[in-house]
């Protein structure tokens, strides 16, 4: 299976926060055999250990969960009302196709209903429908059938194909952060295929629940107690028309993006410098994330187990937390190269 095929498999897997087991299972099948030790912890984090020459512990992580939905109630007409799981903009919901996990494990297709434009008042046209009024339509005939198919608490995600388009671009749901998971799988494979024993002992943590508070990353780092952690993420960029250059976080096709500071973490200067030095030495393609935005597992990890030095590499992504996340494969490959170099060197 090549990178794109694995990325497709991971993105199309069903895994909103708290319901990541389908994703974890794919990862186990892909790289479980390469592990010196494999742990699934109480929260559902999958940790793959690769023994090094020394006991110095390096954690490399990416989160398995994606933003999604959870059913909260239904009305007499069979409309199903929902919470969002993780942050989804109201504009990304109306009329979108969704997939829910039925109580017997079957996938149920639905649509988030959207009032016809002709029937909207001028006021309604100028504002988003409040989340509490939005509902999913699965074609159910009344409340009873709706809740029989999808009981309260049922999970859903966007329904979106994996598409290659333009000059090396990919569109899919859940690229945040299945792209990071895929990078980790490739780094593990590359280490084993090259027959390398790394200096440091490596812990690849596929974490859960990043989108709802990063509890997975915290418990994983409490267990691993790493000396250094590399977080592999997708970051929202804004390299589209009408956004002035100084507000564009990073650019697609210009390499993986290295964070200086985001809403959850200020990265230590020495660590950032060491990452840059490593890139210079190995000719790695990267860019600096030039706007403070977003947050990631580093926000939990840097404060865990007595404090952990962290660095974050993000694959630039357009339209993040929607049905149509977009990345460029070149950036993905540059993330694999950079993460591989970090795995084999001291930061």
């Amino acid at each position: 299976m090549d990178s794109k095929q694995l990325l497709e498999k991971l993105c199309c897997a069903f895994g909103p926060s708290g319901c990541e087991s389908e994703v974890v299972q794919i990862i186990k099948e892909q790289v479980g055999a390469y592990a010196d030790e494999m742990i699934t912890d109480a929260l559902g984090n999958l940790i793959i250990k690769i023994n090094g020459k020394t006991d110095k512990r390096v954690m490399i992580c990416a989160h398995t969960d994606e933003v999604g939905f959870m059913i909260r109630t239904a009305d007499d007409e069979g409309c199903l009302y929902f919470h969002t799981v993780g942050g989804i903009d109201l504009g990304a919901l109306c009329a979108r196709r969704v997939t829910f996990l039925g109580k017997n494990g079957e996938k149920i297709k639905g649509v988030i209903d959207s009032k016809a434009i002709h029937c909207q008042s001028a006021k309604e046209r100028g504002e988003y429908i409040p989340l509490e009024n939005m509902h999913v339509n699965i074609g159910a005939d009344g409340k009873q059938q709706a809740l029989e198919c999808l009981p309260v608490g049922s999970y859903g995600t966007f329904d979106s194909e994996f598409i290659e388009f333009g000059n090396g671009f990919i569109k899919a749901k859940a690229l945040d952060d299945r792209a990071g998971c895929c990078v980790m799988c490739e780094v593990i494979k590359r280490i084993r295929e090259n027959g390398i024993t790394p200096e440091n002992t490596l812990y690849f943590a596929f974490t859960v629940r990043e989108e709802v508070g990063r509890s997975g990353a915290v418990t994983a780092s409490e267990r691993i107690k790493p000396d250094f952690a590399l977080i592999l993420e997708c970051t929202a960029v804004a390299d589209v028309p009408d956004v002035p250059p100084h507000k564009q976080v990073s650019h697609l096709s210009k390499g993986v993006s290295l964070s200086l500071m985001d809403h959850s973490t200020v990265y230590r200067k020495q660590v950032v410098q060491a990452m840059m030095d490593l890139a210079a030495k190995n000719g790695l393609k990267y860019q600096i994330k030039t706007l403070v935005s977003g947050g990631n597992d580093a926000g939990g990890i840097h404060k865990a187990s007595g404090g952990v030095r962290c660095a974050t590499l993000s694959i630039p992504s357009r339209y993040i937390h929607t049905a149509c996340c977009v990345i460029n494969m070149d950036d993905y490959y540059s993330a694999v190269d950079f993460a591989y170099a970090v795995a084999l060197n001291d930061i």
Partner: protein
């Protein structure tokens, strides 16, 4: 018998943004081969399928369903390779950021509609059409090479899918589901001695070309088939008509439609036990039913609409039972009432 799902899937797969209805010519020709004697494309772009009567004095009946769908046209190509668009027909910008589209140039080009990301906007308001762009992942030079230019049609790119209880979800059901209905009715009318025209009219979403087709065919009666908003909780009690799904077509009662014909349609539905609902449309039906009655010396016209959810989005929903009810009512009304 016609397979509703498969004909609907094939019709909606062909992109017919208003003005490019001929894209579906292949399917139209197939329909002609199976059920009709003649296919005419008139000067306004209407496709008219005709099945000739056996006798010379047979009644002339027109069934109208429009062929076009809402979409976009490319209005500019930016230096960075993004496309600006304008909408063709009414489209709610709340469903666009992001959504998937196909740009129809020398080849079909995949794109995602985008605009300034929500976290950089000070006002949490839906974007307007001039604030939206299509991201194709190509440079301006690439796009030029692929024949992307101002005026290229852009369509929603979403396939048809099945929901519970025989409901279908897809784009362009407005009004291709009624084309399916009209063809079903034509099949049911096989052997009935009428001069039958099924008009797949053009440009309903942006104007009214149907008058040209109606003028040329000069029918004794016309049946217009279109879609109507299906009832959802927040649409109840509005001034716009809406009807429950899976309870048959909505029959329009309107000052501009022929009262005697509408009354006899309602009583025919009652005595043949076909479910229906009524809508009071005042003096505006919002369909070709507004225009056809006054063509030439006047054409007595009725209007039936299939309840549909999420109109003008890429996720329109219909119930297959409504398609069957509407086809039966159309065929039965023509055979047992109009030509009796």
């Amino acid at each position: 018998m016609i397979n509703v799902k498969s004909l609907c899937e094939r019709l909606t797969r062909h992109v017919t943004v208003s003005g490019s209805e001929e894209n579906a010519l292949d399917v139209i020709k197939e329909i002609k081969e199976r059920f009709f004697d003649e296919l005419i494309c008139d000067r306004a772009g209407n496709f008219i399928l005709i099945r000739h009567a056996k006798s010379e004095n047979a009644k002339r009946i027109l069934i109208d369903a429009h062929m076009d769908e809402v979409g976009f046209l490319v209005s500019d190509v930016t230096d960075e390779g993004f496309l600006r668009v304008i909408n063709v027909g009414g489209i709610d910008c709340k469903i666009l950021q992001p959504c998937e589209v196909t740009v129809h140039a020398d080849k079909e080009i995949y794109g995602v509609i985008c605009s300034t990301p929500p976290h950089l906007k000070t006002e949490k308001k839906p974007p307007q059409i001039h604030e939206l762009y299509i991201d194709t992942g190509y440079t301006k030079d690439d796009l030029e090479r692929f024949g992307v230019r101002i005026g290229c049609a852009v369509s929603f790119r979403y396939s048809m899918t099945e929901l519970k209880n025989g409901r279908l979800c897809g784009k362009g059901f407005d009004d291709k589901i009624c084309i399916v209905c009209a063809v079903m009715a034509a099949e049911m009318l096989d052997g009935c001695d009428i001069e039958l025209a099924v008009m797949l009219s053009s440009r309903e979403e942006i104007g009214k070309s149907s008058v040209v087709g109606a003028y040329n065919f000069a029918p004794d009666y016309a049946v217009v088939l279109d879609v109507t908003g299906a009832e959802i909780p927040e649409e109840k009690n509005t001034v716009y008509s809406s009807s429950p799904m899976a309870h048959g077509p909505e029959i329009s009662v309107s000052a501009i439609l022929e009262k005697n014909a509408v009354d006899s349609l309602i009583s025919y539905a009652e005595r043949s036990d076909i479910p229906y609902s009524l809508a009071c449309d005042g003096a505006n039906t919002g369909t070709n039913g507004n225009d056809i009655p006054t063509v030439s010396v006047g054409i007595p016209t009725v209007l039936m609409s299939i309840p549909l959810l999420n109109m003008h989005t890429y996720s329109e929903i219909i119930d297959i039972k409504d398609v069957e009810y509407t086809a039966r009512l159309t065929a039965g009304f023509i055979k047992d009432v109009l030509v009796k």
